[in-house]
Symmetry: C2
Subunit: 445 residues, 2 copies
């Protein structure tokens, strides 16, 4: 093959040197010689923004590279800016400063892209560069590329995924009998979970990532996406036990879909993040630990499936490096979404999600099973008993919409029944005709 | 979002209007308005090369677009050339003509890229354009992009896949009890299989695709890749039955891997395409019909998994369209592989594959089971009986290399035992201690 005659030096400014940032530094160091030889590009770390310069680090820097001064960082003469801090500020300020100077911007920040991605991409286009955010969704799984560049959203009908590795890691440990707090502590020990893991477990993190995918797939502004969100909190352990009792596995599933609401309106987009009980043999149920999985329905006989590590410093840093290479070796980054034929997402779209018909797995305290069952019956909803565990009775409703069960759930809640709810998506159910003896005793007592 | 001010017209010359080509024409027609609005690109079919102009077609063309004259086609004033004919000629002539004129070349042709991809990419680079071949591997599954651009081969250790949809479709029907000839006829009826499906079933097609992936992953020239290849012919039905009898499922698995042969030599690449008996619950065993699946080991806790339709006109045309958009909307296509740090693949690499240790499932005529077992024993190889079916006895060897069992197989072959062989990769084995009664009678008779 032909040799590279000239090496181009690309000056990189990196904001953040935590779990992900330090792995990017390491990858640039280890893979640098090969990248230089093959691509003719030498990445040179010009400046790295950190919170505390004196903190001990596992990677070494040339003198003067580390800075804790944001203004000095923003003034860096760099060819590309990479952000691996997370959160809205100062990430947004860094992004706007970089793009305004006509420098490509690479980020792992889903909060930033879900909130400001549309504006940042507009700013980037106006300056002839691009904002790259492969690492912001599903860690090392290249779903952003596949949706944005490969499918170019032409034939996409639905995207469904496990998008939060921490939550999935926790659910996997719960299935093995661990307690929630131990599972969270283990996720933190491994560097997946945030210091406050609530965003992982209540579905906000998955919702941000889903909003980004819905934007790329359907043109819906991520800020205006109406999304139904329920996480696995507060009753993650109960829900997980109930899913097992019903013969399935609990997963936090994010999905978005374009559908025709009525002929006159054309298509609208619906989106949801919620716990779903899946058949144990389904690919999503078999996704364990911090793995992420995405299925894209393009109207073909099979969906396009993508899976891989959804968290962790090394895979996320690999996604940043891929974007860094794309941003600097292509003369122009691929920026297809010049003007979206955006599908609307209005209240009626989210209502539509609520009106869809599903079976539901509902857990109540064992002593309230009969009462709960009769309240569902009064609302016209048949509810069979699922396999039960001590302390909780589990009911499976006939297929009805969320709007139908919500009032019954509220009335049970008011009476202290603490109902736990997950959507059901499995036919492998352990349904029993009559209350199990233990429950019968409790109810009859 | 901002509007597109100018529409650029891109003149397309398309060679081939069969199953894939006609779906590309249809996709350009259906998705054209959206692509024009969003990307500012209007694709205009300038010329379409067909074998017979007068043949009835499901898509309509403007007068003068269709031609059966190769020279006229080559002389077309087009901005990009797309090839969907297949086979080496005239595809190669079209590729060289297009690239020599500095026009991007887009193809679905694995035979062409496996044989000439390296030269074509060199020619492309010299002219400042690129050759695009996403559709050449795994149909609608974007594995070429993921290996070439996303992973940029930095951390890849191993790629393993089901890369031939026709073969997998046939294996799935065999599992359901259909006969080989009926399964092949059904694959042809659905438009997957070639008129001569031998390339699908004997592993040559998968080997071409694997050679392309190994090239992108490890820099090994596809022409010089030493590859061990065994297909499912001639005894596909027997092998499939034997896999079931042993408690697994048969799949044709293509894999390539970089490994350190010894410290002094550095890394070399090994590659194989062969039938493997997998545990029924494994993702590859659960890949049915014409679905393709690829797992890429990048040294992370989980492989990157990609799956989707590996054959069929619509998905393959979608891959062509994605490349067409990439070739014409990026000012420069992504062409990372300027100079490969290619890993060697020599005879010793293929020998190394042969020296690896696996268990093997070996079927012989029922009357020869005892004899076969004793010949393996003479060669120092323990062979237990697997669950057996009428007409065949199935043996499972202790883990040994191919080089160890090959002489025994040859000696059995010479005695008319017609041994059928697959690698074993499952612990879900039905191993029996003694010959089943039917076999015992046959052997004792």
């Amino acid at each position: 093959m032909s040799e590279v005659n000239h090496t181009k030096t690309v000056r990189v400014a990196l904001a953040g040197c935590g779990v992900v940032g330090s792995e990017l530094v390491r990858a640039l160091h280890v893979q640098g010689p090969r990248i230089e030889m093959e691509l003719g590009v030498r990445f040179q770390l010009e400046r790295v923004l950190v919170r505390r310069i004196e903190r001990p680090r596992t990677v070494a820097f040339a003198p003067g590279v580390l800075t804790a001064d944001l203004d000095a960082f923003l003034a860096t003469e760099a060819d590309v800016f990479v952000e691996a801090i997370g959160g809205l500020e100062p990430a947004q300020r860094i992004a706007r400063a970089a793009l305004s100077k006509g420098r490509p911007f690479v980020t792992a920040n889903k909060v930033l892209i879900a909130a400001e991605g549309e504006d940042l991409c507009s700013l980037a286009r106006a300056r002839g560069v691009d904002a790259h955010f492969e690492a912001a969704v599903a860690g090392g799984v290249p779903v952003v590329r596949v949706v944005r560049e490969y499918l170019c959203r032409g034939p996409i009908r639905r995207i469904r995924g496990i998008l939060n590795g921490t939550c999935n890691f926790v659910l996997t440990l719960l299935e093995r009998g661990e307690r929630l707090e131990d599972a969270i502590a283990e996720a933190q020990r491994r560097g997946f979970a945030e210091a406050d893991p609530a965003r992982d477990l209540d579905g906000r993190d998955a919702a941000d990532k889903l909003a980004i995918l819905a934007w790329l797939a359907f043109g819906v502004s991520p800020r205006s996406l109406a999304l139904r969100r329920r996480g696995i909190l507060p009753d993650a352990e109960r829900l997980s036990r109930g899913a097992s009792a019903a013969g399935g596995r609990l997963r936090l599933i994010a999905e978005c879909e374009a559908f025709a609401e009525c002929e006159a309106d054309g298509e609208v987009v619906s989106a949801s993040v919620e716990p779903i009980v899946l058949a144990s043999e389904s690919p999503f149920a078999r996704t364990v630990g911090e793995e992420n999985r995405i299925a894209i329905d393009a109207g073909w006989p099979w969906p396009i499936e993508l899976a891989g590590p959804g968290a962790g410093g090394v895979p996320t840093a690999a996604a940043l490096l891929a974007d860094l290479i794309q941003a600097t070796t292509s003369r122009a980054a691929f920026a297809p979404h010049v003007a979206f034929a955006a599908l609307p997402t209005a209240d009626h779209a989210s209502n539509h999600v609520d009106l869809r018909v599903h079976a539901w797995l509902i857990g109540v305290r064992a002593g309230l099973v009969r009462e709960a069952r009769s309240r569902f019956a009064d609302a016209g909803i048949a509810a069979a008993l699922a396999g039960a565990t001590i302390g909780d009775g589990w009911l499976i409703t006939a297929p009805v919409s969320w709007s139908c069960i919500a009032p019954v759930l509220r009335s049970l809640e008011a009476d202290g029944a603490r109902p736990a709810v997950a959507r059901l998506e499995t036919e492998e159910l352990r349904v029993v005709e009559e209350p199990l003896p233990l429950i019968a005793v409790a109810v009859g007592g």
